[in-house]
Symmetry: C2
Subunit: 131 residues, 2 copies
């Protein structure tokens, strides 16, 4: 795709993708995509990453059901970062929180404070895949 | 700081920081911080990055006046990404747009479409520093 040819992928062929909830506007997570993951996301409407830990394509929600439906895809001025606006089903975070950014850094106490309630028990989210 | 000791910086000692407008909720930009930039951001209340291109600390807005005042700092589940909620003065983008994500990828036409109006002429933003 022409619009993608100027994207700047890093030395590992990846570009960070910030995901924002299309309804509530919350920042949900940051994932990484290679060029094919970007193309798959556009073609399928399901947000798809390259998993750095598993070294494979990762259709968000494929095991948990907590899929992300693509609403809009934006590129930043330097073309080295993407913004994915998506409809998030259930929690975005594998720990069961709506957003992966569920902890706030408290400057006063040097601690991490929970900033939201857990939506789901992670063991239930992945029960089908659990041993 | 204890809350920062578990942050996972990459091989270059950097962690990506997504910046969200504390008022409008828009995602404004993604910058990179090293540990000291995180500490400076917390200590001063002015969002401060490590500029990868200039290899120096970069207090956002130091030349343009378009500063970012820290409202809240969040860490993700993997502790390898930060979310900065900030009050953004003027445009966040050096090209004069409120957000660096001012272009939408159009899947239909394989093009980048402007998704917002420019707030300021970039030549005016940096006029004091211009040659």
């Amino acid at each position: 795709m022409n619009a993608l040819s100027d994207l700047k992928f890093d030395a590992n062929g990846l570009i960070p993708a910030v995901v924002q909830d299309g309804e509530e506007g919350r920042v949900l997570m940051v994932g990484y995509m290679n060029r094919e993951a970007v193309e798959r996301t556009i073609a399928t409407g399901r947000v798809t990453y390259w998993s750095r830990s598993r070294q494979k394509y990762w259709v968000k929600g494929e095991s948990s059901g907590n899929i992300q439906k693509l609403i809009g895809l934006y590129v930043d001025c330097d073309q080295d970062c993407l913004l994915v606006v998506a409809e998030q089903v259930g929690p975005a975070c594998h720990e069961g929180y709506r957003s992966c950014f569920f902890r706030k850094i408290s400057a006063e106490s040097d601690t991490l404070d929970l900033s939201e309630e857990r939506l789901k028990d992670p063991t239930e989210m992945y029960s089908a895949a659990a041993p």
